[in-house]
Amino acid sequence: MNIAEHFPALVIVIPLLFALITWLAGLINRAFCWVIALTITFLCFLMSFSILNTVMHTGRISYHMGAWEPPWGIEYAIDYLNGFVLVVVSFIAFIVTLYSRKSVGLEIDEEKSPAFYSLYMLLFTGLMGMTITGDIFNLYVFIEITSLSGYALIAIGRRRNSLMASFNYLILGTIAATFILIGIGYLYMVTGSLNMADLREKLPPLYHSRVVLTAFGFFTVGLSLKLALFPLHIWLPNAYTYAPSVVSAIMAATSTKVGAYAMLRILFTVFKVEFDLNVVPVTKILLVLSCIAIIAGSILAISQTNIKRMLAYSSVGQIGYIVLGTTMANQTAMTGSIIHILNHALMKGTLFLVAGCVVYKTGIEDISGLKGMGQKMPFSMAAFTVGALSMVGVPLTVGFISKWYLATGALKAGMWFILPIILISSLLSAIYFWRIIEGIYFAPAVSSQHSEVSTYRSLDHHNPHPVSRSRDDAPPGMLIPTLILAGLCIFFGIAAYIPVSVAEKAANMLLGGT
Amino acid sequence: MDIIRTIISGILIATGCFLIVIAAIGVVRFPDFYTRMHPAGKGDTLGQGLVLTGLMVYEGFDLISVKLLIIIIFIFIANPTATHALAKAAYVAGVKPWVKDEGDGK
């Protein structure tokens, strides 16, 4: 057998099986778990890279599960778009796994670590599955795998608030998934098909059918809930704030991105662009919503005092960017949107990893606690600065690339009003990030002002002393991944043609080109 | 022969249904929990038994009717047990039985 031919299946099955093996190995020796997770995420990264490579050379790959040809069996369809997202997801997962050992060691009870890593792998599997599948019901199944593991991972945050956050996420996530299920049902009812490509062929004559319209509405609402588009974002801030650092990082960096990817799939693969533009004004609605999301997310972020919560709100805004690009339905903006999937993953990944480093070293979660941290943790804070500048959209960072594409795309589409929105949100993010950066570098360390409640209760023994200014950075196991991501924030801001070349093809494909 | 079988099974099923309805009425009509258990525990069990027996007769003798028989047996085992469990739960919780006059409930 030609192993490469089966990569599309293996890239899901291997993490899945090893999620199980992680659990078993954890029963023997807990140290195995991390090693397995690391190896497998790396392997997946390599495989997805190879898949993307194949796609770039040969075009769309279609893998038939059980050798049943598409409308009958489940198909894995990989094109530029999901090849790209696969690489992003697996890479981020690899980096976060690399990072996770120390952080998990601190934040999760040691005896729970096998279950943690197993769920972590399942989350990863689910995300990869959501990305790769070409079958709409299979998408639902993977959404559920992702969500379920996500609920549990969030719920084991140290603070009890994480439980309520997780429960709310569970309720809203279930509503979302069920809405998607309803959408699938309605579509199935009038087409008889579950395959995305097949649906694309079968739907056009039915575009004005009320069933299809309803189905579309439910998909949109369900996916918006999943990816936390503005009015439906309410689950996100709490969930990201109270989850363990590693979980916040992986979820912020990949989970909503994959949600956005699913949205793109439904909007532009299952339905055609003409439908989105002419039949229902969904692009207009999403446009308005994403604009509100961008502004509101940034404004809400300003008023936060908790680092992770601030980052979470900023995510709400950034998700707005991704959606915004899709709604203009021209290639430039769409490219911006797709590239922002990568870029935001890198930036948010960096920032959340730094937040994790800080928690690891000091237990501080409050923004005010970061004062003077530039002396104490220079490398982490450098990474944070890079991430923050990137979020602001300073040139030579990835953030600028996204904004460039989105803005020029908006202008191409003749939507002038987008420009101020993008720039205002940049300004707002400049405000909330600058506040922190300034504190990091230009303020004396505040002596242990964080109260017991604001830190992890059980961490108090870990570092009971006032924050000293002497250098005491996170251990290399955490620092290196953080720095890698930060470096990539800059690298892809300079070598932007690498992701852009893929994203442009993907955008072209989504918009109905070849 | 078939006709006779059908008639017999019809009678059995009708009786069974009748008992089931009676049981339902009993469940609604009886004044307290303990007394309601009587129709539930007996009327229902036998009613079901009869209906299923009717089906057995209708089916004739083959593996399917054996399966029906198995169902009947299980119902006869499980139903009184459930009734008992319930009664005990109520009894343990101290639910007082309804008494007509100043009866002599122990």
Binding site: - | I71, L86, A90, A93
Partner: protein, 84 residues
């Protein structure tokens, strides 16, 4: 014939549902649900015969075997306050 029987049983179930909702005590409800459970067994068997597909008996059998577990769980909960 089976249709009529099934309808009758369903109507009987209506009475029991009345009891289940009316209560007044939790025991009455459990009792009612138990009765509905046993009626369901019969109903499933009858539906099998209406459709002439004896496969349905398997479902009836499941109910016959495991329907009382919930009741026992209830008893245990009332008796000891836990399920352990």
């Amino acid at each position: 014939m089976f249709n009529i029987a099934a309808t009758v049983i369903v109507l009987a179930a209506a009475l029991v549902i009345y009891r289940a909702i009316k209560g007044p005590r939790i025991y009455d409800r459990v009792l009612a649900v138990n009765v509905i459970g046993t009626k369901t067994v019969v109903l499933l068997a009858l539906i099998g015969y209406i459709y002439e597909r004896p496969h349905f008996l398997d479902i009836a059998l499941v109910y016959a075997i495991i329907n009382f577990i919930a009741t026992i769980a209830f008893l245990k909960y009332r008796q000891t306050g836990g399920l352990d």
